[in-house]
Symmetry: C2
Subunit: 347 residues, 2 copies
């Protein structure tokens, strides 16, 4: 596939040898091997094949001793057993790129002591930067770092304003859900919310309330009904609402789980979704929304995007251009049958 | 907290200095710093504090140049956006230990080319071993490795018998589900299964069939009803079964999703779960089973355990003691209300 330069000493191949064998410039060969910038996959594979044939393997450890970069990122998660972490991680891994940056993964299990040990290990491995992935959107204390390494917080923002944090805009999420219901003719809207200790629940309630106020409306029950995150709370609370406020024409579930429980109860009570009551959730979790009966409208928190922009910001910070401050990233509506406007609607 | 030895030159601290300052033996200090064996957290923290005070930091890069070990494991996933990967990853991360081994994460996105590039990057970083995490239990081709590095396959086993693979025992899973139903008095049992292209679906069907045969029974419909993995298929198929086989007294769903759909249809048709029909699923996915109405019995695939034993086997392989072959790991029943024996049962 690749021709060796005549007389090449394979044990002492240089970058020039690799470039010649691959038929590219030295600059291109270097870029391809170091993945510093975007190089066409075909070119990269040709250069890598030449490097392999010449036994030219960049030694990352020798490099690390001689340079300030290891091209390694530390990704510190608080709780891998959390479905919100996965898309964030996926987006970050994607942004760090196939091969250009390697990701050292460390999971702290929501344990401060364990987190500190992980940080020390990551630093001893001379990571170029640290991505700290939280398990909720509740602000968290900054990590303690004995050395100056760029850090970006994602999902759970840092409480220190001069840090760089990325979190989904849950106030906007609440606004979008309420706005959609109002724009499709609903007026008697209740909010069955998650646990009040979660910033996500409080922020979504705030967004819903602000948006309704913009339309001279308020929540049917007067306030957000905080409870738990699961289907059971959705079922129980929806049953109470249907009894105490039979005029209800829309219920916002604080999560897709809650919304599924709401639909379940309404259906068992003979209330049609969406003809009698529209239902919308938050998170747009595919396995819950798409096969719901009817399919569930939801607010998508753009978590993969969130992971990607946070990772990009970390790369920029490593390059000397940090994007300090709290960045509330946008979210979007994912509309399905459960909020279809009623054709017999006479609002 | 820790006292410095008098006259210690902090820039040239030795392991002996650290041990003296921490009040432990050199062997214990070494173990604590290298995490080779289990050391009490308290001891470890004391040694680490002493090492920090003396500016004694093990340099992993210098070490890597001088030894054959980097204490780094490559974890190659096929598809991070897959809920089955998360518990496996969690178990593996746990086994590799807090700080003792670092995990380089690479996600191939179910793309052969991308997987090969990731493997090259991981090898150039001189990982001690590679854990290959599949996205289904379908056997996969072995990864191509230009050098001799231990590899362990988990979830998706390698097709090469001399490789080391760990996968959940789906035949046993099918047997356990069927056995539980028979032992609780059910006789007219149907299986609403997932996609037949999945080994998991076929293995579970085989287990159910074998177990029923042991009790001189067969599936109500004569065979496993293959379809899709989602709730919708569970709903549609359960409706058909209730019509064509009204005598049905138990339905096994090929996954928790399918089982949820089955419960949904039976409830809407006025069939009581579990009094008229028992329902059981597979995977024991907390968010689907515990808040189901009624709560759903399921077969737990022990995925976190699976990740842990695969990681341990990789560490053993790196140490020179590979556990070659296919290891089908055990699974267990998680019983809830949906399969409670009917009190009026007269079988």
């Amino acid at each position: 596939m690749t021709s060796l330069p005549p007389g090449a000493d394979v044990s002492k191949a240089t970058l020039a040898d690799v470039a010649q064998a691959a038929g590219v410039s030295r600059a291109t060969a270097s870029k391809a091997l170091n993945n510093r910038v975007h190089v066409k996959l075909e070119t990269r594979l040709r250069v890598e094949a030449a490097a392999a044939a010449l036994d030219f393997t960049p030694n990352f450890f020798a490099k690390a001793l001689n340079s300030s970069r290891t091209n390694t990122i530390g990704m510190l998660t608080s709780d891998l057993d959390n479905r919100f972490v996965l898309p964030v991680l996926l987006g970050a891994e994607d942004a760090f790129g196939s091969g250009s940056l390697s990701v050292l993964l460390a999971d702290a299990r929501d344990d401060v002591m364990r987190e500190q040990l992980h940080i020390e290990t990551l630093l001893s491995r001379k990571v170029d930067g640290l991505l700290v992935v939280g398990r909720t959107t509740n602000p968290r204390s900054p990590v303690g770092l004995p050395v100056d390494v760029p850090v970006v917080y994602v999902y759970a923002p840092s409480t220190r304003e001069t840090d760089t944090s990325f979190t989904p805009d849950n106030v906007l999420a609440g606004r979008l859900a309420a706005r959609h219901l109002v724009e499709t003719g609903r007026r008697r809207i209740a909010l069955v919310n998650g646990e009040p200790s979660y910033a996500a629940a409080r922020d979504r309630a705030l967004g819903v309330t602000l948006e309704l106020r913009d339309h001279d409306l308020e929540l049917l029950s007067g306030d957000s009904l905080f409870g738990q995150w699961g289907e059971r709370w959705g079922r129980d609370c929806a049953r109470l609402i249907a009894q105490s406020h039979p005029e209800v024409d829309a219920i916002i579930g604080g999560s897709d789980h809650i919304a599924r429980g709401v639909i379940d109860s309404l259906t068992r009570l003979g209330r049609r979704v969406p003809d009698d009551v529209a239902v919308i959730g938050f998170d747009n979790w595919d396995v819950l929304v798409s096969e719901s009966e009817p399919p569930l409208s939801s607010v998508d928190m753009n978590l993969e995007h969130l992971g990607r922009v946070a990772a990009q910001a970390l790369v920029e910070a490593i390059g000397g251009a940090p994007r300090t401050g709290l960045h509330s990233e946008t979210v979007h509506l994912a509309l399905r049958e459960s909020t279809r406007p009623s054709v017999t609607d006479d609002h």
